[in-house]
Subunit: 278 residues, 2 copies
Amino acid sequence: MKPTLTHATRPLTFEVDALNENGELLPTSIAGENPLTLYVDKCEVVTLMTLGQAPEALAVGYLRNQRLVKSIDEIAAVQVDWEVNAVAITTRKGVKGLRERMKKRTVTTGCGQGTVFGDLMAEIESINLRDDVTLSEEGLYALTEAVRRHETIYKAAGAVHGCALATNEGNASQIITFVEDVGRHNAVDAIAGQMWLEGWDGSDKIFYTTGRLTSEMVIKAAQMEIPFLVSRSGLTQMGWEIANRTGITMLGRAVNKHYLLFTGKHRFVKTRMPTMLA
Amino acid sequence: MKPTLTHATRPLTFEVDALNENGELLPTSIAGENPLTLYVDKCEVVTLMTLGQAPEALAVGYLRNQRLVKSIDEIAAVQVDWEVNAVAITTRKGVKGLRERMKKRTVTTGCGQGTVFGDLMAEIESINLRDDVTLSEEGLYALTEAVRRHETIYKAAGAVHGCALATNEGNASQIITFVEDVGRHNAVDAIAGQMWLEGWDGSDKIFYTTGRLTSEMVIKAAQMEIPFLVSRSGLTQMGWEIANRTGITMLGRAVNKHYLLFTGKHRFVKTRMPTMLA
């Protein structure tokens, strides 16, 4: 049974005036940013700063990635009220030990949300990504082309990061969902929430992010059981180490027909011959 | 009396192999990322994911920006030990109510560290930035040129954000310190820590960031009493609103000789004439 949901999207861009170097007053689009406080069964959990594109999915994905709920079936309702910048999540049977867990939480904050770091590192040891799926070079290029053509808040206003979940079928790839937010980790959490809400299986999909591949980003992709992680940006040492440990197929600097394949090379199929050198 | 400090910088870049689209195996520099758990008088406060360029200043600046200590004089020692990924901060007289404050903390997480959001919004009302200082267009261009010439981890490995504190003297500007980190908020906190440790006054300086001007970034610059905030990137609606409320002089998209002046226009002096149009 699906949870009851609001659909309370916020205005995503605003226009302000700015003076440029030529002395011209330019109307300039800027991205929205809103505080959203999560309450689980009336217990305050966290305040996220969000663009507000998919607040219900963000709330669900936050609870999923923080391991506060184990299945979407535990959630009865997700109700966003922008009058008070709050989202009320009602569970069917309560979250065991929620108040105690809130007290002892440690937040990791590379550039992202609080996560219980030690627990996550232990958990990645138990993740087994599918090894019977491959990504072809043509499929990767189909993805970067789909991303290039996608209409985004980033193109209009900048100051946001985007994440996408995409199919991987032969040499084709289609964007299933694309979420943007002021924080990279909000965007990935919102996609985790949508996957639960829509019942999407990640085990043959591609996860794309405009942001950097830090430890938390790699951990979250692996937790969603997604074997392919693609970024337009670079990576950090811990992102690389965790990717190696989980065996995820991770590509960075993926723009147009360029990429760097870092880990999980066994799932990547090079369909084009290297340029012949004279 | 200055606190006792370690100087425990981590290796900032690592080299890994990556396969590119031409089938070449390329040695590729990636940025370091390390968990660093802060203990204040043996009470665990937070775990930050950091590049590790200036961990002592990061710890001090985190405590400063979280308002856990009110003055550098309260801190007796800052000791980083990478063997256990920890920094031990010893205060002279203890932090009143520290354990209680850790329990009731709410984290805001647009793309950054936990901060007590409501308290911060109240505090910005009380900030008065200096109005007897100006920034000239030539001074701004001197800053963007200094940033362009600065050697950075970003140029070598990507995946980090940088923040700088710079002088503003007539039509000149020099970088006093430049800190990079995997999270934007770590870089700004490290500079806040250095300002305290070195006794630097921010009230006539420029704060530069490669990152986006979100609410937390603007709040932190204003808290450091810095009247000029310059970014290579864009801004969010809440960043703009808070900048307006504090009256900070905020410029975005500042690269080479381009910029957008958003707020605090009274402190900006345009030294060049607009291009004459025939």
